[in-house]
């Protein structure tokens, strides 16, 4: 790497266009809503900047605090489920043969490249009242009843009649949808962490008489901890800020923070308050990223030893 002063003209020719774009069409818009978050709404379209903290104070009202808390809980539930599901998958991928490993990784990543909206829509078809799951359950119940009628217990005396389950438009549906879209986020860092793991530790542990479960909890988990933490953070962040999943799969009470931000900017037309909520969400994101950075640095130090 060379000092920029050595060829200042070339440096500025390459430096200016992307910097201009980033500043003009990203930093400026963000700064604008940052300023809005300290403003007051004085009319239908009038907003005056007076550096007050009223919008942030309003965000701390129980209603909005509750929604923040709910977003955190939903994201946490999503992350926990993803972790439990992704760990065995990551283990299976790490310990497969190289060609198989590549295919499995590709299969896990591929849904990632499918449009988020389409994946969420696909879940609606699965979960709705006359969707695939209810259809399958209906079939099961009807046939069980038919089988029972052979021994004289039919006509829905024991099972059925089938009542379709309400699987859509509630909090469970949102968590289900979030798990569905964020699972690859968790598998990849876990895979990376497990791949770096020195297998002789596992062999030693198994040789010395520990079982697979004990080896997992006392050897694999502590050694892969930075990867686990990284997976948790990068699953948690997008889940907490997700807009589409609660919007399409959730009911009236499953609003997450992003939905409230959107409605403040669209229907409610209260830009300053929406801006304050956006920045609170961003600060939460940065906080989570900072945790990840600290943990990654710890891991880096561990390697030097």
């Amino acid at each position: 790497m060379e000092n920029w002063k050595r060829s200042a003209r070339a440096f500025f020719t390459a430096f200016t266009p992307p910097t201009f774009w980033l500043v003009a069409f990203f930093i400026v818009p963000l700064s604008l809503i940052w300023l809005y978050s300290f403003s007051a709404k004085t009319g239908v379209v009038d907003i005056t900047l007076d550096w007050n903290l009223d919008q942030y104070a309003r965000a701390l009202e129980p209603l909005y605090l509750g929604i923040f808390w709910k977003s955190i809980l939903m994201a946490a539930a999503t992350t926990a489920i993803c972790l439990v599901v992704a760990f065995p998958v990551a283990i299976a991928i790490v310990f497969s043969k190289p060609t198989m490993r590549m295919w499995l990784l590709l299969l896990v990543i591929l849904p990632f490249w499918t449009n988020l909206l389409i994946r969420t829509y696909a879940l609606i078809a699965v979960l709705r009242t006359n969707g695939f799951i209810n259809w399958g359950l209906d079939w099961l119940v009807t046939n069980a009843d038919r089988a029972l009628s052979l021994i004289g217990l039919g006509d829905n005396r024991i099972v059925g009649p089938f009542e379709p389950l309400t699987l859509l438009y509630n909090n469970t549906a949102v968590v289900f949808g979030l798990v569905y879209v964020s699972l690859p986020f968790m598998v990849l860092p876990l895979y990376a962490a497990l791949d770096r793991l020195d297998r002789s530790y596992l062999e030693a542990s198994l040789d010395l008489g520990a079982g697979h479960i004990r080896t997992f909890f006392s050897i694999v988990v502590p050694l892969a901890l930075p990867g686990i933490a990284s997976g948790i953070v990068i699953t948690f962040i997008p889940a907490m800020g997700s807009y589409l999943t609660p919007d399409l799969l959730g009911g009236t009470d499953s609003q997450m923070i992003a939905n409230v931000i959107a409605s403040q900017f669209k229907q409610a037309n209260n830009w300053p308050f929406g801006a304050a909520l956006s920045f609170l969400l961003m600060y939460a994101t940065f906080f989570a990223l900072a945790i990840r950075a600290v943990l990654m640095r710890k891991e880096g130090r561990g390697d030097v030893k």
């Binding site: 992307p18 065995p88 078809a125 969400l281």
Partner: protein
């Protein structure tokens, strides 16, 4: 592949991938990931409006799709935006990657952090920021096509080019700076060095970055949703308004088209990336 064939070797203690329980977990996870999407694709060919029971194969919904002017206009908009975004993102991404790879300058860490911001901040925040920005500066709306798409395109470039920069920079890591020094010693100007020595090496990275920018732009919903107006509807935004309405085979068909398009582009990108890595390791 030894999925069904019996492996003659006895199972070692670390052969976790051969354990039935783990195989079952992987299988179920993949089923969970793929069944909804495959169901969606299959039922776009189903000859029934209540698309849950199979009533026979039809391509009617695709014909309807291509005769739906609003949807086709949205599709054209999406492609136009994606193409312009790809062009700008690749150039801006290449310049960013080049600057970060070649130079030391004060505040570089902050600069890199700033470049990563569009990647890490929640989409909703960027969406509303873009919406406020264009409303506030009074960006002209209602221009003639394709200029009415400019606001969306600008926003798409802003979040795509940092991604392209990452991909291109990864490619530059395998470039030997002595080659550039050599060209400079032999009298090549900075521009000639960049165009004739650096860019040819960057090429697979440029292609991979371009394809990434293309899919990102084509797929984006949230940021587009906040920057689009009533006459600047993109394909995902149009699908969204259809989805809100109901689950119909037309939506399935439209989704299938988009999935297919993204898959093709992704397959290209992955091949490029692979070649990228192989060439990279060969150079070392």
């Amino acid at each position: 592949m030894s999925l069904f064939k019996r492996n003659p070797d006895p199972m070692g203690p670390l052969d976790y991938s051969r354990r039935l329980s783990l195989r079952l977990t992987v299988g179920l996870t993949l089923f969970f990931l793929y069944a909804p999407i495959l169901g969606l694709i299959v039922f776009s060919f189903n000859d029934s409006r209540r698309n849950i029971v199979w009533r026979g194969f039809t391509t009617d919904y695709y014909v309807k799709l291509f005769n739906n002017d609003a949807l086709m206009l949205a599709f054209g908009n999406s492609l136009t935006i994606a193409l312009v975004t790809t062009l700008f993102s690749t150039v801006l991404g290449a310049l960013t990657a080049y600057v970060l790879w070649r130079y030391r300058f004060p505040g570089k860490a902050v600069y890199e952090g700033g470049m990563a911001l569009p990647i890490v901040i929640p989409e909703i925040c960027m969406g509303v920021a873009m919406m406020v920005f264009f409303a506030r500066i009074g960006w002209p709306s209602g221009m003639i096509w394709p200029f009415n798409l400019s606001a969306i395109t600008i926003a798409h470039i802003a979040f795509s080019f940092p991604f392209a920069a990452i991909v291109i920079r990864a490619r530059l890591e395998s470039f030997n700076p002595e080659l550039a020094e050599c060209a400079r010693d032999l009298g090549a100007s900075e521009y000639r060095v960049f165009a004739d020595v650096v860019v040819p090496h960057m090429k697979p990275g440029l292609i991979a970055g371009a394809l990434l920018a293309f899919t990102l732009s084509l797929d984006d919903f949230v940021i587009t949703f906040f920057t689009s107006g009533p006459d600047t509807v993109t394909f995902p935004v149009k699908i969204y308004s259809m989805v809100r309405f109901s689950v119909t085979p037309e939506v399935n068909a439209a989704s299938t088209v988009l999935i297919l398009l993204t898959l093709v582009v992704t397959a290209f990108a992955l091949r490029m990336q692979n070649r990228n890595n192989m060439l990279g390791s060969a150079a070392h």
